[in-house]
Amino acid sequence: MLRSLATRRLAAPLLQARGMATQVKLPDLPYDYSALEPVINAEIMELHHKKHHQAYVNGVNKALEQYAEAEHQGDVGKMIGLQGAIKFNGGGHINHSMFWKMLCPPKEYEDPSGALEQAIEADFGALDGLVSKFNAAAGGVQGSGWGWLAYSPESKKLVITTTPNQDPLQPTAGLVPLLGIDYKNDRPAYLKEVWKVVNWAEAGRRFKEATGA
């Protein structure tokens, strides 16, 4: 057993030395495309997953391959040039992989409970308070981006924040509206409806992990 562990640990550096890159895969959705109706329709879910998220997967895999090659050739300029594509596509992949898990069918919706519920009360007074603050922040994002509910290990509080485009957010408790056009131009309507499909159990699980509770 020890021998196989040793060869397994060596394999990665050897692969990288040969310029073989990390590659990611499109995760399956935890539910059918139609599972979030009537809040988010099946056509949008399919487009979002099969086209947009897949495009981020393809984009980051291509960029990582090119990056590994550039690194192998010692071409620092090229490596730097690829970082925008890695951030946008890699961030898109990371963010969306989390996002699918952060939604649930409306029939399975449950209000937050346990430690997360207490934290919400402590930091926002009530769920309503959180929702208004979140919607104000997310509604104010210029162009593309994400609204997040996150946990700050530094301040030990829940925070609401936004990121532009596909920039990934380090803190773990993520609640994410990605603004698609299901409500076409009406971003406020989307922000009102999407709360019916928010998976608080998943948010609670991440909160537990983040706080070591």
């Binding site: 487009l47 946008f88 162009g143 593309s144 485009n165 596909q166 056009i181 131009n185």
Partner: protein, 205 residues
Amino acid sequence: MPFTLPPLPYALDALKAKGMSKTTLEFHFGKHHTAYLNNLNGQIAGKELESLGSVEEVMLKSWNGGQPTPEFNNAAQVVNHTFFWESMSPSGGGKPSGKVAEAIDKDLGGYDKFVEAFKAAGATQFGSGWAWLSVNGQGKLEVSKTPNAENPWVHGATPILTMDVWEHAYYLDVQNRRPDFISNFVSNLIDWQRVEQRYLAATSK
């Protein structure tokens, strides 16, 4: 005095035959462009900016040397969109001619090279933004891309053509397929006569 939007230069269904649906224009002009204007008017009510003579002036002032104030996004998007409608025509498409065609040959290496660069600019602007053909400070043509509401005017250049690559510009028609939107715009929508007029105006001083 609150600002107003100039009307669309053509009917809402006028670009249908050229690949941009009536529904897109209804939303893009009637909802998005209109919202930028209404939000801007709300933001500047009772402020100094309200007394400026044009939205362009509000845009340049609120750019604030690269640290834009909240009014910038709305002001710039009002200007960008008006310019976008004027960059297209129901009789658009085809190739440029006249002085701008000569300049494309001289400054950009020819029409094919222009198309390649312009398409790449539109396709590689991550998230929301715009692709531009402008006359720069040295009087030469250049292709560029900008994020969100930013544009070449705030960088001292003079745009003569723009293409909106925010998702709201193409999603209703081609969903995620931005490259299809870009190809159609370049082949079928560009008002090269207007672009030529703008080029002459920008290079006559």
